[in-house]
């Protein structure tokens, strides 16, 4: 198990900065994910760690890892070699004796459930099978570090979940330090020990999946990992209980939240769609922590109903109701009241009010 440290990496392509001073610490055996929108520099960073690209400044420790397994986005399978030859490729380069190669290839094929397909050509395999060949090819050299660049993006939704579990299970069993790149926040949440959110060549926040979701450090992280409704108000004064505040808006709504601040100070609150509860009508009993609005869109997804509720001209709120009761589905144009628990409002730093 290898610890990988990335210190102050800078990379430019011509005049375009790709990575602007990134530092990371990946612990031994950790499943570490770089997530961000396309063009954020995550693949560039991975290629620098893999030694496929030279950085302009900074360093990767250990600097030259010989044993790195790399799994590429579009498989990068060798189309002229059989499945067995593909898996054996790295072993042959290491001059492993032929009988040892045969055993190791068979073992790797078993791990990724490819037994019996060793003599096939890649073109005869499905996308999922090809991805497993590439996985086996990277694992069979017993890498000290496994790097994966969007390995699931070419697969359909069902296979994606299947291979995702396979990758995670293998990584846990073999205890390989793994750095994984994806643009899919849901995939990142599902698979990782630690996630780093990247945007425009910088790391915005590093943390456990639930830390990023429940305590996003910036508006970008809040929006990128899941959906976030952001409400703006002013601190009125201390609320009931320790660490509580009363917040008031220009429209007379009054909220109690767990946050710090002094009276008169502007404050922004983030509320996840599933933290909102929905009461039909606008004569709600609970006056605190509520918003009144009109339904503008209803998306019925079975287990969840997603509503867009217009509170006022410049405030559209998304609410998700899980496991809705039969007959309790609102329609477009219905007036209703949204309510949230004080503990579910997340203070959003760096937000000073509506632009």
């Amino acid at each position: 198990m290898t610890r990988v440290r990335v210190e102050g990496i800078v990379k430019r392509f011509g005049d375009t900065p790709a990575i602007e001073g990134v530092s990371l610490d990946v612990r031994p055996g950790e499943f570490f994910t770089l997530v961000g929108p396309s063009g954020c520099g995550k693949t560039t960073l991975l290629r620098i760690i893999a030694g496929l690209l030279d950085q302009d400044a900074g360093r990767v420790v250990p600097s030259y890892l010989r044993n790195i397994g790399v799994v590429f986005q579009n498989y990068a399978i060798f189309p002229h070699l059989t499945v067995g030859e593909n898996i054996a490729y790295g072993l042959k380069a290491r001059r492993v004796p032929p009988d040892r190669i045969a055993t190791k290839v068979a073992e790797a094929a078993r791990l990724v459930q490819l037994e019996g397909l060793l003599d096939r050509m890649p073109a005869q395999l499905s996308g999922g099978q090809q991805q497993r060949v590439v996985l086996a090819r990277a694992l069979v050299i017993e890498p000290r570090l496994l790097l994966m660049d969007e390995p699931l993006s070419n697969l359909d939704a069902k296979l994606r979940v299947q291979i995702r579990s396979l990758i995670r299970a293998l990584q846990r069993t073999l205890r390989i330090t793994t750095i994984y790149v994806t643009h899919d926040q849901e995939e990142a949440l599902a698979i990782s020990d630690t996630i780093a959110v990247m945007d425009r060549g910088r790391i915005l926040q590093v943390g456990k999946p639930w830390e990023l979701y429940l305590r996003p450090g910036t508006r970008f992280v809040a929006d990128f990992i899941g959906t976030m409704n952001v409400l703006h108000g002013k601190v009125e004064g201390p609320g009931p209980g320790p660490g509580a505040l009363t917040v008031v808006t220009d429209f007379g709504e009054r909220w109690q939240v767990q946050a710090a601040g002094s009276p008169g100070q502007p404050i922004s609150l983030g509320i996840r769609p599933e933290s909102l509860q929905l009461v039909p009508g606008t004569n709600a009993v609970e006056a605190w922590n509520s918003l009144k609005g009109t339904v503008t869109e209803v998306v019925y997804l079975g287990a969840v109903v997603r509503y867009q509720v217009k509170v006022r001209e410049d405030l559209l709120v998304t609410a998700e109701i899980h496991n809705p009761d039969f007959g309790a589905i609102c329609g477009v144009g219905d007036r209703l009241t949204l309510w949230f628990a004080a503990a579910r409002a997340i203070p959003m730093p760096g937000e000073t009010g509506p632009a």
């Binding site: 590429f72 189309p79 090819r137």
Partner: protein, 549 residues
């Protein structure tokens, strides 16, 4: 991908540049400079050009060339495009035969095509003599009409192949969408399909135009004194009364100018009009009326039969007893006996020089293609452009350039086989470069990176992964280079000397000394020799395709 490689690929870049500079750019530059040289080697601004444009003897050549090429391009476009559409869109019988036959028509060098029409319809021609027995006669094959016929028959397959490929890349949904939006079929073709295939159409037109501008053998054989730029250039350079290199260079410069202008115009147009098309379901075959189907079938088979006439005539006539230009009914091996008896050296020369040139083309071509595809930089773009010059520059011009440069110290190559090899090598280098670059753009660079990440160093990765994946392109590039080199006439006729005559030169001189039997036998060998590697390539690639490559 690491610094160790920079040394090797850097030296490949240097080697490629040196090669192109020494054997192409410098000779061509010398031609351009010579065109501005007067007597006693002093510089004159426009003396030669002034003479050219004020004497009908000279300027008629450029008029003839442009006129012939323009008409031939138009004809080839019409025939090639119609045939491509008929085969792609209508239910014609025997489509595989039609496609193969159109491909076969490309195999014989154009001057052999011209000669075959002389065998059939010349003064002593087989068909003419047969018809005269009934008291009929045909219009003469000689002159510009004959040249035009040969050009169209010879070069329409370029257009056919390119347009067919382009049509395969148009998705049926494009047509369906246009029709569903209420666009009538004719308008749909004009507004939805034509724009997508336009780059291929213009590419085909360019190929035909450049090839006909450069064609030396055809007007020589059936032009009967009709002056075109290449024939006049040859005449000015090799003149029994003393050659005039300055005027030959002036003609050569005009050829360079016209062809590069055409090339740049097409590149500019195609670059602006190229669309990325994703094709899942190619255009489907349309139902049509029986009458139209019959008309198209007759047209397609008519075209293809005419296209096959030259090689068939050559093959058959090579087995006929002959005396001078007259062939008699019956069959005999007399012609073959006499060539193996009289000119075995030319056959050996051709095979050895062609093989050497193709090997060199492939070796340098593969490396250069890798550079062009994987290390895009300004330096490599320049290298690309200068190699592609060879596409645009007629063999006659390359030949004159090489002679002017290499018949004086420090390097004297004239009179040796090396100068022939140099011309063959440099003129056909674009084939493997093109085919391999195109292939490399299909091969994901990550496949190579995967190999490096698995511990195989970059250069061994190139040998173990890249080369095997490029194999189909290497084969087809080599086969194309072989096919075009083996029948090369326009520079050989200038560069050969004494014992180093090639088969194409021998055919040419045999035709001019009225030895039609030996000419046919040599031409038959040439056609078969051009065909075999291409055929084998298709077989090998076919099997690989079956294996799922």
């Amino acid at each position: 991908m690491g610094r160790k490689r920079r040394d090797f690929w850097w030296s490949v870049t240097l080697l490629a540049f040196l090669t192109v500079l020494l054997f192409l750019v410098y000779p061509l530059a010398t031609v351009l400079v010579t065109s501005f040289t007067g007597e006693e080697k002093r510089f004159v601004l426009a003396e030669n050009y002034h003479r050219f444009f004020t004497h009908r003897y000279y300027y008629s050549s450029v008029v003839n060339s442009l006129y012939l090429s323009a008409l031939a391009t138009l004809g080839a476009l019409l025939v090639g495009t119609t045939l491509a559409f008929a085969v792609a869109r209508y239910p014609l019988p025997g489509k595989t035969f039609l496609r193969t036959a159109a491909n076969l028509a490309l195999l014989s060098p154009p001057f052999i095509g011209a000669y075959s029409w002389v065998v059939l319809f010349g003064r002593m021609g087989l068909a003419n003599r047969a018809l005269s027995a009934f008291g009929w006669s045909l219009p003469t094959i000689y002159g510009w009409r004959g040249i035009l016929l040969v050009f169209v028959v010879q070069y329409f397959p370029f257009v056919f192949l390119l347009v067919s490929a382009a049509l395969r890349s148009v998705d049926q949904s494009v047509e369906d969408a246009a029709l569903s939006l209420g666009s009538p079929p004719r308008r749909t073709f004009r507004t939805a399909i034509l724009p997508v295939i336009a780059p291929s159409l213009t590419a085909g037109a360019l190929l035909v135009f450049m090839a006909t501008m450069a064609d030396f053998g055809t007007p020589m054989i059936i032009g009967e004194g009709l002056r075109t730029l290449p024939t006049l250039m040859y005449g000015e350079f090799i003149n029994e009364l003393g050659g005039n290199p300055a005027m030959a260079s002036t003609l050569g410069s005009l050829l360079i100018l016209v062809n590069t202008a055409a090339l740049m115009a097409q590149r500019y147009y195609a670059f602006r009009k190229a669309y990325n098309v994703v094709c899942i379901q190619p255009l489907t075959v349309r139902r049509t009326s029986a009458r139209r189907r019959l008309a198209l079938t007759v047209f397609a088979y008519g075209v293809v039969c005419v296209a096959l006439i030259p090689s068939t005539t050559i093959l058959i006539s090579s087995f006929m007893p002959t005396r001078g230009p007259v062939m008699y009914a019956g069959w005999s091996l007399q012609s073959y006996q006499s060539i193996f008896h009289l000119i075995p050296r030319a056959i050996a020369n051709t095979f050895i020089l062609t093989a050497l040139a193709v090997v060199l083309d492939v070796l340098l071509g593969v490396l250069v293609a890798y550079l062009l595809a994987r290390r895009r930089s300004r330096v490599h773009a320049l290298l690309d452009a200068s190699i592609m010059l060879a596409y645009a520059i007629p063999g006659t011009v390359v030949g004159v350039g090489l002679i002017v440069v290499y018949n004086r110290p420090p390097i004297i190559l004239t009179g040796t086989w090396i100068i022939l090899l140099v011309s063959y090598f440099i003129r056909h280098l674009p084939y493997p470069v093109r085919s391999c670059t195109a292939m490399l753009q299909q091969i994901d660079i990550r496949v190579e990176e995967a190999s490096v990440s698995l511990g195989v160093p970059p250069f061994r990765t190139f040998l173990k992964v890249t080369i095997p994946l490029m194999f189909p392109a290497i084969l087809s590039g080599a086969a194309l280079a072989w096919m075009t080199t083996i029948g090369e006439l326009s520079s050989s006729i200038l560069l050969y000397s004494g014992p180093w005559a090639t088969m194409s030169v021998a055919i040419f001189t045999e035709v001019f000394s009225n030895h039609f039997g030996t000419a046919s036998a040599l031409a038959s060998i040439l056609i078969v020799a051009a065909f075999v590697p291409l055929f084998l390539t298709y077989r090998v690639l076919g099997e690989r395709a079956a294996l799922g490559m």
